[in-house]
């Protein structure tokens, strides 16, 4: 991990080089969320939430390589939905060389990392945030 996140950094914990996503959980119904939120959408109204760490490992539910993207992004890049054991699904980019795309499989285990999600472009600075790395 050679870079720091400058986007959604509050949703990440980095300890001894390992990255974990931080979500939240409702004390009353135990429903979990990512990103963390102040209110539980199941209990509606006043709710008490605790911050929780997800994973650290998740399972890839589905994925795609995006070839046509909004102006601030730099296609092609790979995105996927990852399911964490706390019953939270998170969308993120997958850190993988484009020629390795064929190696991805639904159901494979992934870890969380920090990486570049948007290059410096249109006078906007580079954006670093969470990314998923397939465990091989």
């Amino acid at each position: 991990m050679n870079v720091n996140a400058n986007y959604m950094a509050d949703s990440l914990e980095i300890k001894e080089g390992k990255v974990q996503l931080i979500g939240s959980q409702c004390r009353k119904c135990n429903n979990s969320y990512f990103p963390s939120r102040d209110y539980c959408t199941e209990c509606i109204g006043v709710s008490e939430m605790d911050l929780i760490k997800l994973g650290p490992k998740g399972v890839l539910y589905s994925y795609t390589m995006v070839h046509v993207a909004p102006p601030d992004f730099d296609p092609p890049y790979v995105v996927g939905y990852v399911d964490f054991p706390e019953n939270v699904r998170v969308l993120g980019q997958i850190e993988i060389a484009n020629d390795q795309f064929k190696e991805l499989r639904t159901g494979m285990e992934v870890s969380v990392s920090i990486g570049l999600i948007r290059k410096e472009k249109n006078e906007n600075p580079s954006v670093y945030s969470y990314k998923f790395i397939p465990n091989t």
Binding site: T64, F73, R89, Q93, T106
Partner: protein, 379 residues
Amino acid sequence: MREVVVLGVGMTPFQRNTKHTFATMGREAIFKAIEDAQVNPGKVEAGYCGTVFGGSMSGQKIFKETGLTGMPVINVENACSSGSTAFREAWLAVASGLHDMVIVVGAEKLSDLGKGPLPLQMEDVEASQGMVMPALYAMRAKRYQVDNGATDEDLALVAVKNRKNGSLNPYAQFRKEVTVDEVVSSRMVANPLTLYQSCPTGDGASAVIICDSKTAKKYTTKPIKLLATTLSSGKFMNGFRDMTSPEITLRCSKKAYEASGCEPKDIDVAEVHDAFTIAEILYYEALGFCEKGEGVQFLREGKTSLDGSIPVNPSGGLISRGHPLGATGLAQITEVVWQLRGEAGNRQIKGANIGLTHCTGGGIWGFDHGACSISILGR
């Protein structure tokens, strides 16, 4: 609630780079609907307008061009379901007795936005990470392929069918047939979905006039009855969910079937929201035309072709007719009305008595989709 019928329908051809303005496009659709209904425009008591990018006071801008001013005008935005949601509000006004006759228009001029996928709001957690609508559908497609063994060529069959239907529709943006090979080898948008498997952006407008069935007797002996029109919004889920099971469509169709007293087997023709090829297959299953996981087989057997047991998207659907967001829901109603009246030309389905329209969309993280509206019409 009173019985509501469709008196008149009209639409502009869907195309890119129309010479019309947003307002004159809407006017053309409205004048066609008035002519079709053969009503005195002065009888129209209220106007509804569905659009996403039409801007503030979009309905007033359009109705001003027609001379229909001073009446209540209600502007509706609900992403891809904007037109169909406006239609649902119009139905409610007539069914409840508030108005006897109202007009609904949907219009969109997407050429003004340039090419490429439509922008999502960067405040959205997923959009900020690089999510786009084609990627969402692509991940549904990937998962469907894994779960059900569907191939890229299977998905392409939807585009082949809808382009064929569109070739018979003078209002369609794409009028040229394509082969499976051309579809799978066209430019990749988001694996496994290629350009020809994606609906185009474009310009267009459509309008529909509805009234109560008693008023309708003055104008027609063959009204098209609105058996049900229902609206649902997405249910937020942050956890695991089966992306091949479009939950908002399942809930909305259950309400529509209950309200109309129809079952899936009663439907003779359907216009569904094929924003991308995979979507149409998922909706065969969610609308109950076939069992879950059997959508591809259903398609392969030609059940949803023009001469099949339940023709889907005879207009060419979003993939071929085009998808000027706010206009789509009303273009679907227009197509089904033409089919039920027997006015659909070369793409006419013989003896169609009951038709269904399905319009869903809106990319917000945590939702299957933001909105869904379904109508069932009968003659």
